[in-house]
Structures are given as C-alpha cells and as structure tokens.
Assembly symmetry: D3
Homo-oligomer: 340 residues x 6
C-alpha cells in the first residue's frame, strides 16, 4: 500500500503530572505531539508507510522532536530544518469538573515561519496515496497557510486523496485572517472533512447551526450544503462527544458519504487518562478504515470511534493502541480484562 | 477591601503518592497546610488581602513553611517564631472503598506551645475586617485555646466579623478538656459558624441530633437553638457530603441566615484527587461570598459549594481554583471541557 | 495457632506507572509477587505465622526478593537457593476499556528448575496446620509439578488442610503436559479448591460448563461432580467478578460446603488501583476465615470477598489491608471516609 | 536599611535531571530564574528588603513565576503584567569534560516587549538605596534596552547606588545593536561594575585585553581605563574562575576600589551541583558586603566569593545559602562537616 | 555463633534528593535508621543472628519501621509497642563545601518515653554473646538512660561482651543531665568503646585532649587513662576521618587493645554518596572482626575501616556492602571496576 | 558514504538510580543497549547510514526495543522477529570504591536462539562498506556463534571491512565452548581488532601477556604475533583505562597499524556518570575516524579516545556526544565550560 503524507507542526508538550496545577509542578513531563503528526504516528503504529512534513529548528529541542518522530516509525525524509524555536504547549490535566487547560506558546516557531516554495511537493508525494492536513496549520501564520495551500493544490493535482481535520482553535488565528477567508480555499481541494457541523459552518462563513446529531435526516441535509460548496468532497465525518466531566466522556462517531449516515455505538470512557489527541486518533482510524475497508463504511466508523476511545486511556498525544486492541473494542468488548 | 486575618497551625504534610500505603512509600510528598492557612490561601488566590497568624519554629522546616505561606500570597508580618518543631501530619490517600488515612504527629509543636500575651492582636487587626479561627486550634493544647480566646475577644471588641469552623477531630482534644468546656466560650464571640449540626451540638454540650438535612423547617429549628445560645451569630452553614466511596463524593452546601435555608445543588465529584482541605475551600468561598455578594446568599452558598467541589480535584491542602473556574461551576457548567 | 505453609514462585514484577504503555516507560516499578507468596503475605499481615517455600537464585535479584519476603513478615527458613534467574513478569496497568497486560518472562527460573527430593517436607510441615498451593506451580515446568506433587502428598499424609487455587493461565503450561494430565493428581490431596467452574472443569478434563452463578441449585449440582471426583474435598469457592471496565469491577464470592452455597454481596470497585493479586487476597481471606470462624461460613465468605475488594485499591501484588479495614468493609461500610 | 531594587527578566528554566541529555529526558525540572531576580532573591535570603521589577504575561506560567518570586521573599509590588509569553531557557547539566548547555527561547517574551514609559521609576525607587541591572536586559531587545536606560538615569538622578553586571551572552544581542553601541550609555550612570576585563573592554568598544589576573599592578592599570571612561564608577569587581571541568571549578574574586585590588583566596568546588547563577550569587554577596561592611573591602570580596562558591552546591538559579553558611566558608572552613 | 543484641532508637529518616535544600524539596525520601539498628543490620547482612530492642508506636509509621527491621533480617521478637510517635530526623545532603544538615525531631518519641522494667533482659539475652548500645540512647531522655543502665548491667552480669559507641550529639542531651553524669556509669559495664578521644574524655568528665592521632605512644597513653577508669574495658577504637569536603573524605581507623595500636591505611572516598551511618558501619565491622578474627586485630581494624568506607558509597543509614566487597577493599583493591 | 552494518544483541537494561543497591530500588530505569547496537547508534549520531541486525521477540518488550533502535536513527530493515524473550541486564551503578555491578539475564533470549541460514547476508550487505561484530555474540550461544561465522565470512567475501571488538565477558561463554575454540575462526575474517592484549591472547589461546602499555616497541612486537596469526588484520587498537575508582577514570587509547603505535593523551574523567558502553563509543569513534581520516591515524585515535571519554559523562549505553563535542575534546579542550 502506498504512503500517507501528513503536514503540520509538532510541538514540545510540557504537562503536569498527577493532575497538578501549573503553579504546583516542580517538573513537567516532556513529550512531543501535534495533530497531523499524531495522525501519521497512528497509521505507522498500524503498520502503514507514512511521512510527516514539518519544519524543525536545528537545536537540541528540534533534534529531540526528530528522534521522537523516528521512534514512532514515521518517515522523516522530507522534513525541513531552520527557524528559531520549536513551538511549545503546556498542558494541565484536569479531573472531574475541572477541565484540562492548554496554554499555547507556539508563535514564531520554525513552522510558523516556513516559506512558500521551500518544499518540493512533487517529490514528497511520490509513492503516496493520501495527504492529510488540519485547520491548525493555516491558523498559526500567513506563511503556514500559504504553504498549506501549495500542498493541497499539489496533492489534488497529483490525484491523492486529501483529508482535512477542521480542528478549530479559537486561541490561534491571531495573524489577521479569519478562518472563513482561508479555509474554503483549502477545503476545495479536499475529499474528506472531519469536524462538527458547528465548526464547519463557522470556518466556511456559513451561519451557525446546532443540529440534533441523532437525527440522520437533518444531519444529511446540513452536510449536503457542505458537499455543495465543495464538490470534490466525498466524506464528512465527526466524533460525537458528550463530556460528563473531564474524567468521564461518552464517545461515538458518524460518517456521511453523501447518501447514508453511519454511526458507531456511544461508548463510555471512565476514567479518561488523557484526551488530547483523541480527535487525531479518530482521524487516523478513519483513514485506516477507508483504505482497508473501502466497502464497509460501518466498519470504518466503528474502527475510528474505537481508536478514539482507546486514545483516552493512553498518556501523550499519540494513540498507541494496536490494531488488535482497536478491533476487539470495535467488535464490542470493552470489559478491559487482564491479558495474561 | 480590608484584610481577612486567620489564626491557626500550619503543618508539614507528608503524603504517599499513587494511593500507596505508608509501608510501601519510598518517598513522601512534602507540602504544607492547615485549616486556617488554607482559608487564607483561598482568599489570597481570589485576590484578597490576608494575613495568617501562627507560630513557627526557627529551623529549616519552619522556614520552608514560611516560604510556602509567602508563595500563596498570604501576609506573614505577624507570625511568631519559637518552639521546637513544626507539627506534622501523614496522609495516605485512599481509593474506592478504602478511605484516606491521617496520622497526626503535632503534639509539642511550636503552635501547641504558644503563650498567651505573645501576640499584639490590636496591631494584627489594624486594617482588617474579618477574623477566622477553627475548632482545631483549641483542640491542640490549653495554651492554643487560651490564645484563641484572646483573639476572638479582641476581634469581637474591635468589631471584626468573626467566623468559626467547628472542625471537630476526635484524635485531638487530648490535653484534658472537652470541646464543650471550651468551644461555647469561643463561639460566643463569633458571627459565622461552619459545621454540621451533629458536631455543633456535640461541641456545645447539647444532645446529639441527626436531622434530615433535606427538611428546611427542621434544620431551621435546630439551628435556631444555636442562635439562641450565641446571640451574635448571624450565619450557620455547612457542607453536605455524601460519601459513595473515597473516590466518589456528592457535594452540596446550605447557608442559614436566621430566616431562610439557602441550598446549592448537589454535585458529583468523581474521581476525587484530594479531599483534604475541601471544607476549608468551602469556608474560603463562604467568606468571599458574604463579602462580595452581601445581598445574595444564594450566590454565596453556590460559590462556596463550587469552591468545595473544585478543591476535590486539586492536590494538596489548598484550593487553587480561580474565581473564573469557581464561577463557571457555580453557574452550572461541570462538563470539564478542555480549555484551549 | 499453627503455621500456614505456601509453596510456589515469587517473581520480580516490573510495572509501568500512570497507565503508561510499555514502549513509553522510562522506568519500571520493581516489586515482588506471586500467587502463593501473596497468600502467605496476606496471612502474615493478619498476624498469622506463615512460611513460604520457594527456590531463589543466589544473585542480587534473588536476595532482593528474599528481603521483601522478610519485610512481609513471612517465614523464610525453608527457602532453597540455586538456579540461574528469578522469574519476571511485566505489567502494564490498563484503564477504562484498555485492559492490563501481563508479559511473563519466567521460563528457566530457579523455581522452574527445582528438583524433586530437594525439600524436606516433613521438616517444613512441623508445627503447621495448612498447606496452600496453586495451579501456577505445576504449570511452569515438569520439575515444579513433580515437587508440587511431593508436597501435597506429604501435607495430606501428615494431616494438614490442603488448599488449591486453580489459577489457570493459558500462557503457561508450555512444557508438554496439559492441565488435565496433572491437576487431578494434585487435587486428589486437597481439601479446599478455589476457582470458577469453567477452569475447574477444564483443568480436570471435564466438559465445559458455563453455569448461571446466581442459581444455587445449579451451582451445587456442578460442584458436586467435583466433590465426587475428589472425595477429600470439603470446600469449593470462587470469586464472582463482573468486569465493567479495567477501572470498574463488581466483586463478590461464593463458598460451597457440600450443603449450602454462601454468597457475599456484590460490591463495586471504582476505580481499580491494581487488580493483580486480588484472587490471592480472596484466597488469604478464605483461609483466615475458615480458621477463625470455622462455624460461620457466611462470615468467612464475606471476609474473603471484602479482602478481595480492598486489594483492588492497593498497589502491588500483596493485599496490605488490615483486619480492621476488611472487617469494616465486610460489615457493609464502603463509604471510604477519611480516618483522622 | 532601605530597599535594593533589581530590574530584569525572570525565565522559566527547564532542566534535565541526572546529567541527562535533552533527547533523553522524559521530564524536565521546572523552576524560575534570571540574573537580576537571582540577585534580589540572594539579598532577600540575607534578610534584606528588595523589590524585583519585570513584566510578566497574564497566563498561568506568568502567575507561577509570580508565586516563586513571592516565595523567595522578594517584593512584587511594581511588576507589570502583559505580553504574550514568559521567556524560557532549557538547561542540560554537564559533567566532567562535558559542559552544561543552555538553549535560550526568550525572544518575544513579555519582558522583551516592555515599553518605555510603562514604569513609574520614581515610585519604584521610593525608600530604595541601590539599583541593580545587568547586561542581559539591553541584550534582549531595543525596548528592554530603552527601558533600562530610563531606569539607570532615574536611579542615578535620585541618588541610588547603581550596580551593573556585564553578563555578556553572545547568543543574545540579536536585535541589531552591538553591546558597544548601548552599554557605555548605561554604564555612565553606574557605580559598581561586575565582569571580567575581557567582557568589559569588548562591551565598551575597547581593544581586547587578556591580562594576568594575578598581577595587581597590571589589573589596576587596566581597570583605571574603565574608571576614566565612567567617572562615577567606584568599584570594579569580578569572579576569578578556573574551569578544570564542568564538575570541578576553582573560584575566587577580586574587588578594585580605584586604589587597591582586594583578593579572596581561590577555593575548590568539586563536585559542582549547579553553576548557573553563581555569578549572580557573587553579585548579591558583593552588594550585601558593600552595604554591611563599607569599610572592609576584604571582608566584602571574601563574602561575595564564598557566596559564589556555595551557589555551585545548590540546585537552581538562586543562591539559598544562609548568612551563617557563607560567613563560615568566608572565614576559611570548607570542610563540609555534618551539622547535627 | 550466638546472637548479637543491640538496643536503641530507630527513626524515620526524611531526606532531600539531589542535594536539594529543605525549602526546595517537593518530596522527601523516607527510610528508617538509627545507630544501634544500623549496627544490627550490618551484622545481619554479614549473615549473623541479631536482635534489635526498641520501642515502636502502634501506628502505621511504627509498623512501617517494623517492616524495615524485618527486611534487614534483624530479629524483632523483643520489640516493645507503645507511645505516641516514632522519632524523625530530617537530612539535607550537602556537597563540596556545603555540609549535610540534620534536624532532629525525636523528642517525645515512643523510645524516649520507654519505662524501666518494661524489658525482660534475661529473656532478651538468652543465646546471645554480645550487647551493643550507644551514647545516643542515654542522650534522648532520663527514661532511656535508665533503661540503658538496666541493659548494660544485665548484659555484664550474664557475661556478654558489651560494646559502646560514644556517638556524642550536642543537639541531644536536653533533659537536664550532662554526659559526664551518665556515661561513666554505663561505660563501667562495657568492654569495647568506640569514639574519638575528644568525645571520650568530654563524656567522662575528663579534661579535653586533642592528641596527634599519628603518634602511637601518645595515643596509647591517653587511652590507658580510659582503661584505668573502666577496668573491664578491653578495646578502645575509633575511625579517623579527615573531611576535605562534604563530598571528599579520607577514612581510616585505629584499634587499641591495651598493648598495641593497630591502624588501617587511610582511604579516599570521593564522591561521598551518604556518610550518615558510616560510624555504625565501622562499629558493625568491628564486632564482626573481633568475633571472627579474634587473634588478628589488624584484620579486624582493616575490615571495620573498609566497611566504614563502603558505607559512604551507599544511600541510607544502613551499610549494605557484602562480606566479599568489604574483604576485597580491606585487602587493598579500591579500583571500583565493573563486575560483569 | 556507504552503510555500516553491525550485528549483535540488544538488551533491556534495568538500572538503579542514584547509586542505589538492587535491594533498595523501588523502581528501575528501563533503557536498551548492547555493544554492537551501541556502535551503530554512535555512527548514526555522527550522521552515518547504519543498519543493526538482531533478532527480537514479537512481544511488547521486543517492540519497545525496536522503537528505541529507530529513535537512534539506526536502520531496522533486516531485523528478524521470533523467539521467547528479550535478553535483560541489571545494572547497579557504583561510586568511589564500590564498582558497578552487572547481572546478566540473557540466556534463552531471541538472539541466543537465532538459527543459521535465517539471515540473507548478501541482501544485508548491499550498499555497505563495513561490518562490525563483537566477542559477545559468539559468547552467548552456539547458535549465535554459528550465525556470526556466517556473517563474517559473507562480509569478508563481499569485500567489506570487518571490525571485531573482543569484549571478553567471563560471565558469558557458558554453552560449552571456550573462546579459543571459536574466536580465531572469526578473527580470521576481520581487519580491525579492538581489545587489550591480555584478552586478545587469552581468546586466541596464546599465553598470557601483561605488557607495559607505555613501551611502543614491546607493544608492537606483541601485536605482530596477532597480525601473524590473522594475515588480513590491518589495525589493532585498544582503550587504555586506569581505574582510580568507580567514579574516577583515566582514559586513553592506542592504534597500531603494523608500523606505528599511535597514542592519544590520557584524559581524566571525574566523575563518571555511566561507564557502560564506553568501549563501544571508542569503537564507534574508531570506525568513524578510519573512514573519515584514512590518512591520519593520530586524528582517528584522538577522536576515538575523546568519544570514549565523553561517553562516561552520558547516562545509558549509547554515546550521544555530537561530532562537535568530540572534536572539541579531541583538540584538547576539556574545560567543560557552559555553552550559552
């Protein structure tokens, strides 16, 4: 099977342990993550051939990130080097009614200052079948948005399947453009869109909708307006998340293929070990499912939702659940028995 | 707004991590806490001007305590220095049906051996509006009880609002006096009393009552007997706590102002990160509420209860939840969503 | 009261912290445990006189194990020394729908290579009243099975009460024998058998049964077939475990004495701190109960089930719950209140 | 005694433990430090009244820094709030022939973007006797340099003693100005200058000198050229450091008062626990000495050098050695005996 | 070989890691130790039969101490239970010129409040050959001193060899008696005395001496005055310690048998991992040597000195060096090569 | 430049922290290493293309090893999967006169049970220029020795430069063969031999020699006898190590090319952070030097020795020193100054 390429920023993640608040922490766990890397790492963990495109600073922090990408089994052949710093995000893990807290410190990063023309997309896309990007990249800087546009155009032109995770973050988009000025131009070249309708409509400049996600007919109708705006779109999909508390979540997913709304059963995650990256786990599961079960959309959404659930039980940004574990959960066994 | 003064003991808290039993712990987390300090630290965290009065030994353990008081933003200008040791408490954090375990090692502490006349209360209470004490202080030694009496008399005389948390601890009160011999003399000078009716009646030498806390009429009647004993009393209040397990608690609160019983909605805390100090968080919230929403007792009890809930999600004795977080929970949002 | 002797393997247990996956762990918690040792340690913790029989390698890992056995208060006078290595098991602690994972690395251990005739059982059993073994020992090697047979024969001959925990582990039994070829020969000399009917029937070569554990009549009938095979058997007993998730378990137990099925109430454990060794905690509770409450089987099964529940809240293989704590839970108080 | 004011940036310090390289670290120690804060914290630790002026971002990282400043007993009344991020530095602690490594990530910090006119220096300097700044501040941005100039002018005008630590860092000074364009304008208003002659001459645009630091006559002559350039200068001083390895340092100091070169004995530090901040410890000791022993320059340089030595044995940026410990070392006892 | 009995206090030791100062420590290592226990643990580690006599409080801290005594292989059959608290000592480990710091918090401990008549010394000394006590026990309280006197009298009467480590601690001896009022009465019943001449003369009320420890003649003469005071004394011995810094020590030892001064070669310890308990390691080595090499005093002092050296490389109070390791060092190999 | 291939075993390394003894460790650091992997990782760290050949079990421990190999940037394309377990070694890090201690637990590992014919060496050696093996591989089992012979023959046949590190470990070689029966047959196909003469002569069945390593003439003569036995040999080389203590080592190296003995200056490492793998760091440096400075043997031995020195300052098996750091040390700067 050919490669899946993802493009985005990888960040140093500094998180407190044992639900400590930032001001209590005498040390911080240091790992690395970022939406598009997380998707590539999920796919590599399922045994797929992947490549992650980003820009890393040539200091020891950038090199440590590079080592973690390699550890995940993700290809690093086309990574650019340059810039002043690796972006950082601080994470305080909540519990019960206290939500987790993210502080971004990613302005002026190597990736934010990437320049158009610096990546040879034709060479990147050789032997590839899919390209994945997310709404975080055009949100960090005008430069990143411009390079993202180069990428989706090239991918679309070469004939790759392009997937987009909307990933709306209100704390980003600080460089003078609004999502609706940028995102439609990128989504035009995409075939798969992930995100709730609220974000999708907002980022495309449509009026806000707050639909009943249990009503297939209404959902279909709303998604159809997206399909009309972006004729190349083949799939719209989203996780369904009910947040009972920071420690207790109900997770499902839906996949719409212009005809049918496929739904996975809602599952209960309690306790949540780490929910950051669970959307990326869903995305990775979706790409895996569409490629491996092209004719079984139900299986795809079940796989993606199970991957999303299991990610909640794993520390760090990246979903390290195995194919076996995900398939076992997707087929209904959530008993969590000891394997011995 | 003028200062809130609290008076009591701060202890070195040595707690096991990861629910380990004492005999399993190769190391102990070392923090500092104590009921009256915890109240001051809560209020300082809300931006209020506070001062904590205590007695610290002049060794490195006492100095470390002093640094933590300063870190909390609590005033240290009137702290006494002397004595042989800082009191200690050991804490083993339970889980599920295994309760947490506290071992006190606070006898002979600097605070237990405080002497009457050693604090210039007039100077302490300059620019102050409130004074807070709790039933722990008169429980540790005859000396501490005598100084506590000096304090409440002076505070009452100067016209401060005096609040008292009953904080009955059966493992204390070892120096030859029973609560009923001491507490009424202190409560006489207090305006706000916090504690369940069972403790209140016991510590005041009244017959035990086990009322239905859902019945406003009965509650009012019982509280009225307290108000009759202590004519200066304006408010009686308590948390309502249903302990499903060490990890799962239902938390609410009531506030009675001689006329009406105000109740906050019962909220579910699951899992509990650390419940020690949650009563002090309630107390801090109550003082904050009464000062900031003097005409809205419902808002006050909702704020105090939400502060109490959030404390359960925070490690250590002190409530580090922010005003924003407490207000968000008090207004009903307990979804614990990620802030990013 | 005379001694309880247990015989089996103690392993180095290497477990990840904070629910980390193996590939994430920069360090591993190092403790020691093993079914039969865990039973002895439970009993020693209740104040009983015990002795653990095993074979340890004469290297620093074996010596560290010896120190932990001593720390538990278990007798070490008859331990053999020799062999190349201490067996190891790796443990990854799951959460929610992700189950815990055990990787055995115990082949070729000192215990697996124990030789017949190397233990003077007569001397071991002096001053003893009970002997306990489990199905793990005959599962690890032909040698261990042979020595186990020596032991049960000697114990039976001398008149000790012999208890057997079936402990079926499909990842063991790799040396060429199936359980049904070995276990009946050992159970013949046993008086108490612990394990679910499914395992019992499978290990005795009977046809699989999946009975309704709520139906006393059916249970009794099925157990009676065991009693017919093993006429010396006096008690058959098992935990009842409903695994809602890796973090949430429902736990009860039943005890059958050829006449009556005694049941303890099902209790809810949430969250689970560590469920490894909870069966051994049940076993330890059962032996304690049968010896201390010989005429009150209900009390025995309640004690054993409560011990099993509390073990889930304690890290490591060994149940460190005290008699008081177990009795409090057995008598119905699972509120987990703070003791202070 | 009146206050000492220091002005500069405080950074989040993220350091690896146990001499790990950045790429090996699964977690980072998180503390706070920065040259001018370190000086204030030293002085506060000696019991002096101090105030630290800086600009902190209003996020949880900035607030954590604020709490650490308070913990050190340093005044925070004039701190500005605003900007996007707290500066960061990463520290990898070397050993033997492998030097420690600092990676700055402080561009675009709240302090770098401070604006002229935003601090009311007159109010800051009320009740103050000394003002301390260092060459790091003008090195981080044009804005910081401009505010630093405001500060030294105001301090000089009001009549404070102004001290300057040259602190040349080649990895800073990136905003388009060279030290020699900025530093002389700032030194003009200073009375005490700390730094080796090489840095001093370079930063003042003079030709490089590499003098024999053992020759008082030559040293005096070279320092005199500085005194000629800056007529208000009263003292020039520097540590003498011989780096045998990252773990083994020889430390002394000299103080020149336009007449005499005072020298402390060279002391051996082995092993070095943490040498970052040792220059600031020297600076703090110097200010303390000049204020407390105005007529005994030998005592001052001995105190400053001993403070510098002891800092090498203390983890973190800040010197936590007590007056007693420093005086004991300054008077010659470096035996490191156990105090018990 | 018959048992060695030691009598004294075991303390909870709370120490900072990585040379942190007390005020920096977010957690403390929790171990257990105390001079006389350390001696027993050394001997048990060499394979000898030992028993430790002390008084422990019946709380979880006391029980944790008990488990550690058992882990060390030391007998616990005669331990008393009672009292309010286990004594504590805080330890901050120094480096280079910063010495380690001990804070005692042991007043009012279970051991300090031991009562005369509570130990049946005749039963304790059955099957014993040696009894060891130290000057710490009579230093903690009048009660402890009185029980110590009971012990030495009984031991002497029964014919045991009695050894005494002077262990002078100026921070103890707070209950109203001076050493010279108590120690001679205890030393009268002792056969071996360990300690420098300075302490010995001071504690016996003799005039201070500061002899040249390299001059056998002078040493012999001074020791002879001790032998004259205590006619039953057979051996006087001491470590020789030159403290270059907290991290670098020179260690030797001398043993005088009324005729000859035996000396071990001075060895260099660099770095020191933990020097607390190194005197007890010397004491343990001495007892071992005198019992195993009764005719080779040179071998004894070499063994004791090597044990003392190796203790410096081991964390915690107790010497865990093996017989092989000590013998290898005693015979001159200090190269520290990797064993593999 | 073409690839360097190394072949051998990678082990799970479980080491105690802070110089703790095995019996004190509540947790163990878990990393991965092994002589031949360490060489490949060194070379990858210098930017070279490498491939590591081994056999890993298909369990989570084997997979974790695979991830670490990838993280190091070493190629994994030809790794075999199978077998029961990953080999383990336990490491206790000594200090001062206490040496580090290695306990091997590697019998029956996946690598020990590798089978001849299972590796397609022709395919492995495509695009390669060098092949490296060590004496550990033939020491672990007859199978491993046989596969090693296949490898060296194939490498020699294809024309690769073959290097051999003798790596004599007396605790291995347990399967019935002595080194002299196996090693000569392997060395016959090698061009570079690393190891001291003592090991070399012993493993080749020659009489023991203990030469003066400072005498070039004697060294040359002894090495010449090796060159006579193995005519294809071009270089003989060894580290020179003087072990003052476990914490203090003097390190140099010599390289003999049949004509001249090249020597690097002896350097002092104090303190040693971790000396395991320092020989492999030397080996990696040597291969790098011979390939990059083919005409400058002095530069090669200086580079290799500096790499060996720096490894002592780095935790774990693998040398993570950069080319810049090694070159700086090789050119004489061992001052360990802070880089900032």
């Amino acid at each position: 099977m050919k490669k899946v390429i993802t493009f985005g920023e990888i960040l140093l993640r500094l998180s407190t342990e044992r639900h400590l608040r930032f001001s209590q922490a005498a040390n911080l766990n240091a790992t690395f993550g970022g939406g598009e890397f997380n998707v590539a790492a999920s796919l590599a963990n399922y045994g797929m051939d992947t490549e992650f495109i980003t820009r890393l600073p040539m200091n020891d922090i950038g090199k440590a990130a590079l080592r973690e990408i390699r550890k995940a089994g993700v290809g690093t052949n086309h990574i650019l080097y340059g810039g002043e710093r690796l972006g950082i995000y601080f994470l305080e893990t909540g519990a019960s009614m206290r939500g987790s807290k993210v502080i971004y410190d990613r302005a002026h990063s190597a990736m934010a200052e990437i320049e158009t023309g610096s990546i040879d997309w034709e060479s990147v896309f050789r032997d590839a079948q899919c390209f994945h990007w997310s709404g975080v990249t055009p949100a960090i800087s005008a430069n990143a948005a411009a390079v993202c546009l180069e990428a989706v155009k090239a991918a679309h032109h070469i004939g790759l399947t392009v997937s987009a995770d909307l990933n709306y973050r209100s704390k980003l988009w600080k460089y003078g453009k609004e999502p609706k000025e940028i995102m439609p131009g990128l989504l035009k070249y995409s075939h798969i869109i992930v995100g709730d309708l609220d974000s999708a409509f907002f980022m495309c400049g449509k009026e806000k909708e707050d639909p009943d996600y249990n009503d297939d007919a209404i959902l279909g109708k709303l998604y159809d307006t997206l399909f009309q705006s972006f004729p190349d779109l083949k799939f719209a999909t989203t996780t369904l998340r009910y947040s009972i508390s920071a420690s207790h979540q109900l997770i499902g997913g839906i996949l719409y293929d212009r005809n049918t709304v496929y739904r996975s059963i809602i599952k209960e995650v309690d306790p949540v070990v780490d929910r950051v990256g669970s959307g990326d786990a869903f995305m990775g599961g979706l790409i895996y499912g569409l490629l491996h079960y092209p004719d079984d959309h139900q299986k795809t959404i079940d796989f993606a939702s199970a991957a999303c659930c299991l990610k909640h039980t794993i520390s760090g940004d990246v979903n390290l659940a195995s194919l076996d574990e995900i398939n076992q959960l997707a087929s209904g066994d959530s008993s969590g028995k000891v394997s011995r």
